[in-house]
Symmetry: C2
C-alpha cells in the first residue's frame, strides 16, 4: 500500500490575519484531508475554521502532541500515513518546526519514507528579515538568548562580533512579557552604530517594523510589553 | 505630506505555482498600488498578471533595479513614496531581500522613515527548513559556498562542526548547473552519519524533499542538474 503524504501547514501569527496567511492551495489541502497532528487541538480547530474548512469538524481525527502525549510516544500518529492517508501537521503559530515543535514529527516521517510537503505561509523570522533591510544572503536565527543578565549581555556582544566578522544578520526572540528588559539590555550593551530592527505584531493591525541604529533607538524606546516581537542585529 | 508605504511582495518559486504562492491580501495589495521597484521588469509584469492584477499594465510605473540602474542610484525610485504613493518591491523569485537583492532598497526606506510592510509568500529557505525535520530553533543560512574545491570541502567540514557544536541547522545553496558536483563533494566530505536534506523544485510539480544520512544518500544519488535546490546539513 502506498504511504500517505505529510502536509506541513502554517497557521496565522495574529488574530484576523486569515487573508494575509492562507493561500488557495492551503485551503484546498485542508479540505482534502481529515487527519491532523497538532500542537494544540483547540487552536488547530479554530485555524481550520478560519481558513475555510468545509468538512464538519466532527469528522476530523486530531492527534495532539502536547507534552503529555509526547511522553507516551508518537507512533500512533503515523497509523493513518502508513495506510495511505494524508495528514496535516500544524503548530500554534507560524510554520511547524520553525522556532516551534513539530520537527521531530517531520524527522520521523522522513525515516519512514513518508513524503513531506511544506506549504507556504507566515513565518515571523522571514517576514522580519525581509523587512529589516539587513543581509538576507547570510543570517542566523538563535531562538532565545540566555535569561541571566550577565550571560545575555555577553551573548549580545558575541552576536555583534559574529555579525561584523561574517557580514551576517543575527536574529533572536524573547518571551513577550520580557521584551522590554531585553530591549533595555540591547540598548545598553550594543555599539551605538550597530543597527537593530524590531518587528512586533507581524501581520496584525498594530504591526511595527523599524530599523534604526542603537543610538537612534535610545532616543525613543518603543513599548513592547506582551507584544510578539523579533529582534535583528546587524553590525558592519 | 505623509509618506507612502513600501510593500515587500514575494513572487512564486516555480511556474504554475500561483495558487501555492499568493494570499488574498497580496492580490488586494497589488490591485491597490500602481508603482513598483523590481529586479526584472519583464518577469515582474508576468507575476502581477499571474497573481490577478486588474489594473491595465500600461498604467503601472515600474522601476528596474537591474545592475545598470543600480549604478546610477536609486534616488528616483523613492519619489512616489515621498509624495505619499505606496510602492511594491519584488525580486525575481521568492522574498525580496532574502538570498536576493532588494535589501538595499528596504534599508534606504527605513532611513527615510518610510513604513515597510512585508507580505507572506514563498521562501525556499523556509520551506526547506520546515520540511527537513532539522532544528528550526537554531539555524544559519550561508548563501553560496566557495567554488574552489579545496575551500569548499573545508567549508563543508566547518559547517558540520558548527552544526554539532551549536546544535544548529546549516543551510546553503548552489547555482543549479553546479548542483551535481556540489552534492558529490558533500557526499565525499561529510561524516556518514551526518544528515543531509535536499529540497529541489520547491512548490513545483516535481518537488523533491528528502532527509537521509550521508551513508544513505551515497547508495542512491539524485539527479539535481539545473534544478533549483537547497541543501541542509545537520550533525548531532
Amino acid at each position: 500500500m502506498p504511504l500517505g503524504t505529510l502536509y506541513l501547514i502554517p497557521v496565522p501569527l495574529a488574530d484576523e490575519a486569515a487573508a494575509k496567511s492562507f493561500t488557495p492551495y492551503l485551503v484546498d489541502t485542508i479540505n482534502s484531508i481529515k487527519e491532523y497532528i497538532v500542537e494544540n487541538e483547540k487552536t488547530a480547530r479554530k485555524f481550520l475554521k478560519e481558513a475555510g474548512l468545509k468538512t464538519p469538524q466532527s469528522e476530523l481525527l486530531i492527534h495532539d502532541y502536547s507534552k503529555h502525549n509526547r511522553d507516551s510516544g508518537t507512533g500512533e500518529f503515523f497509523k493513518g500515513l502508513q495506510v495511505g492517508k494524508s495528514v496535516g501537521l500544524m503548530s500554534e503559530a507560524g510554520c511547524p518546526g520553525i522556532a516551534d515543535p513539530g520537527a521531530e514529527i517531520v524527522e520521523k516521517a522522513h525515516r519512514m519514507g513518508i513524503k513531506v510537503v511544506p506549504l507556504v505561509g507566515p513565518s515571523s523570522i522571514l517576514l522580519a528579515l525581509m523587512a529589516s533591510g539587513f543581509n538576507g544572503q547570510s543570517f542566523t536565527f538563535h531562538g532565545y538568548l540566555p535569561i541571566d543578565k550577565a550571560e545575555r549581555s555577553k551573548k549580545i556582544k558575541e552576536l555583534e562580533n559574529l555579525s561584523e566578522k561574517n557580514d551576517q544578520t543575527q536574529i533572536f526572540i524573547e518571551t513577550p512579557f520580557r521584551n522590554n528588559p531585553m530591549l533595555e539590555e540591547i540598548l545598553k550593551t550594543a555599539h551605538p552604530k550597530t543597527r537593530l530592527c524590531i518587528a512586533a505584531d507581524l501581520t496584525s493591525a498594530t504591526e511595527f517594523v523599524q530599523t534604526k541604529t542603537i543610538a537612534e533607538w535610545q532616543k525613543k524606546v518603543p513599548e513592547l510589553h506582551k507584544r510578539p516581537a523579533i529582534f535583528l542585529l546587524f553590525h558592519r
